[in-house]
């Protein structure tokens, strides 16, 4: 996603846009940017540093790929009981609400299924018995979570990645807004949180042609999140399947849209709704329509 006034000169960390400043950085494995309704480069740099700092903090804490992260400690705790800090407890409470609201469809324990489903575009032949072997290790209801204590049974994993990026976008925006009362937009690889009075025009990337904007969306205050895309998919029975896995069957969801972008009051909520839409596969639009959500679907 590209904010309206972005001039994509990637080498520069702070870019002058059309009556705004754009700060760029990489975090959580994707290109990020903050767009600020200001002309002051000193202020812009301060805000950019705050944003980078917060993004790095959340990344260090919740990335499954960092051996020193809290997420790694949770996932390799071998069933031991862990006492968690308030922030992580909030995230787990949220994950619990999501699980409950979605009747078990939105589940942060499906990560273990990636051992058999490799979403790298390669054709693969996953046997039914392989799925059956993994399924006992899937299911949020099997996790013991009694705030602030968590027990993850051996062999199970929690993946907060599906929540963290949207959470980080909202968090960074909150931090930035508390230090400067200006309109701002935070974009973490397509998960967007905007605050202030300014109306931003956000481009939704064309699924077929990465880097090309297929349509634009106007956003003032609130969040925007996109699920799907061409980058992560598997070939199942000769058909392309997106990286969304149904925790009940252990298999990729059938017939999801190529991408779904949802607007909501917060990026966190937008992310939940777009993921839910993907989980409903061919009925993604029907789901969002019944929620009366503002969304853009691409099939």
């Amino acid at each position: 996603m590209i904010a309206d006034c972005a001039e994509l000169r990637l080498a520069y960390p702070l870019i002058q846009g059309d009556s705004c400043l754009i700060g760029k950085f990489d975090a959580m494995g994707c290109p990020c940017e903050i767009v600020m309704d200001t002309q002051g480069s000193a202020q812009g740099r301060t805000l950019l540093e705050i944003a980078i700092g917060e993004a790095r903090r959340i990344e260090r804490k919740f990335s499954r790929y960092r051996p020193d992260s809290l997420a790694s400690r949770i996932n390799h705790g071998d069933g031991r009981r862990l006492e968690l800090d308030a922030e992580t407890a909030h995230l787990l409470d949220y994950a619990d609400s999501c699980f409950e609201m979605s009747d078990g469809l939105f589940d942060i324990t499906t990560g273990v299924l990636r051992k058999i489903w490799r979403f790298d575009g390669s054709s693969q032949n996953v046997k039914a018995e392989d799925v059956e072997k993994i399924l006992p290790f899937v299911g949020w209801q099997k996790i013991r979570w009694e705030r602030p204590f968590l027990e993850v049974p051996k062999g199970m994993e929690l993946d907060l990645g599906g929540i963290c990026k949207e959470y980080a976008a909202d968090r960074i925006l909150q931090l930035l807004t508390s230090s400067a009362p200006i309109s701002m937009l935070v974009n973490l690889g397509g998960d967007i949180a905007a605050g202030g009075e300014r109306l931003w025009v956000v481009g939704i990337e064309d699924v077929e042609r990465p880097g090309v904007v297929s349509r634009t969306v106007r956003l003032r205050q609130g969040g925007l999140a996109t699920s799907g895309g061409t980058k992560r998919f598997a070939r199942v029975d000769g058909k392309m399947r997106a990286h969304i896995l149904d925790p009940r069957s252990g298999r990729p969801v059938a017939g999801p849209p190529r991408s779904v972008t949802v607007a909501a009051p917060t990026c966190t909520e937008a992310g939940f709704l777009s993921t839910m839409a993907m989980l409903h596969g061919s009925r993604a639009e029907a789901f969002l329509e019944d929620q009366e959500a503002e969304f853009w679907c691409h099939r």
């Binding site: 909030h90 949220y94 966190t268 909520e269």
Partner: protein, 431 residues
């Protein structure tokens, strides 16, 4: 009411609450605070060549409240001055004329060349307010009122309407009712109709109006929208214009020998049908076209075609060329003047607005949206009215005169639309 069958359980409100809880945000119960106010300030100047000038500043404010309710208030002041045709016929060249109009102003007419005019000057003050709110079951209600006052005229009006959305908001049906009560207080009193009597019969005369409106709006496809409206206006009471007169001319020479005040029926029922289509072309351009048919029991029938193209030439700016064509037939009792030796008709008016004519408007509007969300627009329009210069009913010297001089008017308007809360914040921030 058709109940929309949901295929999925509604979880959006809970999702919003869960995300707020995660982020430690107190749910914005006073969400209205963040919704922008809207102020629309406008300055309009309407200038008729050789006739009336109107200067009209107006301000309209819309304040949204929680749950899609909103309050709108508008205030306007019109300063009107200039000349307006009396309705009487020109004199023979060289015959000087000076008469007095009921408004007490001196009336002069240039002999033989120009139709007689009376000078007019007044200020109108108008205000209206409306409250809009959803009523559940897809219903939206609007209730409003208005007052308009000038030195010789006072009007109170109200309106109430209900709109209902069907079919996932693709169809909207609207019904409305608008009563109005007007009081005419002509300068010098209410003249005796069809007489030349200056002595007034009364100092004021009332009029009651009931407006009915039924509308259907339909989304045709993601780019096309149509609206059909039927409206009926029922007027009762004093519908005559107290300042308009008719000449009595010599049946042979056509020379005016006197004049009498006009008389219109005491009731009028007008029906209009309106069809609007809006069609989006290219990415952000819009073609709007409308047609209106109007018919009343005075024998007037009219057709109006209005075309507008919204050319959004970039993210912020647009041009809107506008064209309008109007044609009306004359009222049954329209009469350019009476002839000596014939009995007086029951009803008669020589008001050019009740004659047959064509009106053509061409205009251009330019608008620009600033980065802070405010909008500036300017427009210029040119309006002409052409009627029958030499009606068959003219006698004698009147045949040689232009009895329907073309009306030429320009409309110039500047408009600025902004959110005052944002304005104040930007100002405080010094940007």
């Amino acid at each position: 009411m058709a109940v929309i069958k949901r295929r999925f359980r509604r979880i959006k409100e809970r999702a919003t609450a869960a995300a707020y809880a995660l982020l430690g945000i107190i749910p914005p119960a006073a969400a209205a605070e963040s919704k922008p106010w809207n102020v629309d300030a406008s300055f309009l100047r309407y200038t008729e060549s050789g006739r009336i000038d109107v200067t009209e500043p107006s301000v309209s404010v819309t304040k949204p409240f929680a749950n899609d309710r909103s309050l709108g208030v508008m205030v306007t002041v019109d300063s009107i001055s200039g000349s307006t045709p009396i309705g009487t016929l020109p004199q023979a060249p060289g015959a000087p004329v000076t008469t007095t109009s009921p408004s007490g102003h001196a009336t002069t007419s240039n002999p033989g060349v120009v139709i007689p005019m009376s000078h007019y000057s007044d200020t109108r003050f108008g205000t209206d307010g409306s409250w809009k709110q959803p009523l559940g079951f897809g219903l939206t209600g609007v209730i409003g009122g208005e007052v308009s006052k000038q030195s010789d005229f006072l009007s109170y009006g109200g309106n109430i309407s209900l709109a209902k959305d069907f079919n996932q908001k693709n169809t909207t049906v609207m019904l409305g009712l608008s009563p109005e009560f007007d009081t005419n207080k002509p300068h010098g009193g209410v003249p005796v109709p069809l007489s030349s009597q200056l002595a007034p019969t009364a100092i004021s005369a009332d009029k009651r109006v009931i407006g009915l409106l039924a509308g259907l709006t339909q989304v045709i496809n993601p780019r096309t929208l149509m609206q059909w409206n039927f409206s009926q206006t029922r007027e009762n009471g004093y519908l005559t214009d107290p300042y308009k007169q008719l000449s009595i001319v010599n049946s042979v020479t056509g020379a005016p020998v006197g004049s009498i005040y006009e008389r219109r029926p005491a009731s009028r029922i007008g029906n209009s049908l309106y069809w609007l289509t809006k069609y989006s072309v290219f990415s952000h351009d819009v073609i709007s076209g409308s047609y209106r048919f109007f018919e009343d029991n005075w024998g007037i029938r009219s057709h109006t075609v209005d075309l507008n193209y919204h050319w959004q030439f970039n993210e912020q700016g647009y041009f809107e060329p506008h064209f309008r064509f109007y044609h009306q037939s004359a009222a049954d009792f329209f009469n350019i003047g009476l002839v000596t030796g014939q009995p007086l008709p029951l009803l008669a008016s020589a008001d050019y607005r009740l004659a047959q004519f064509n009106g053509i408007t061409g205009g251009l509007r330019y608008g620009w949206t600033f980065n802070n969300g405010s909008l500036f627009a300017i427009r210029l329009e040119y309006y002409t009215q052409r009627g029958n210069n030499h009606p068959d009913s003219a006698v004698g010297i009147q045949r040689g005169f232009n009895l329907f001089p073309t009306l030429q008017a320009t409309v110039f308007q500047i408009q600025y639309n902004f959110d005052p809360a944002r304005f104040a914040r930007d100002f405080a921030a010094g940007s």
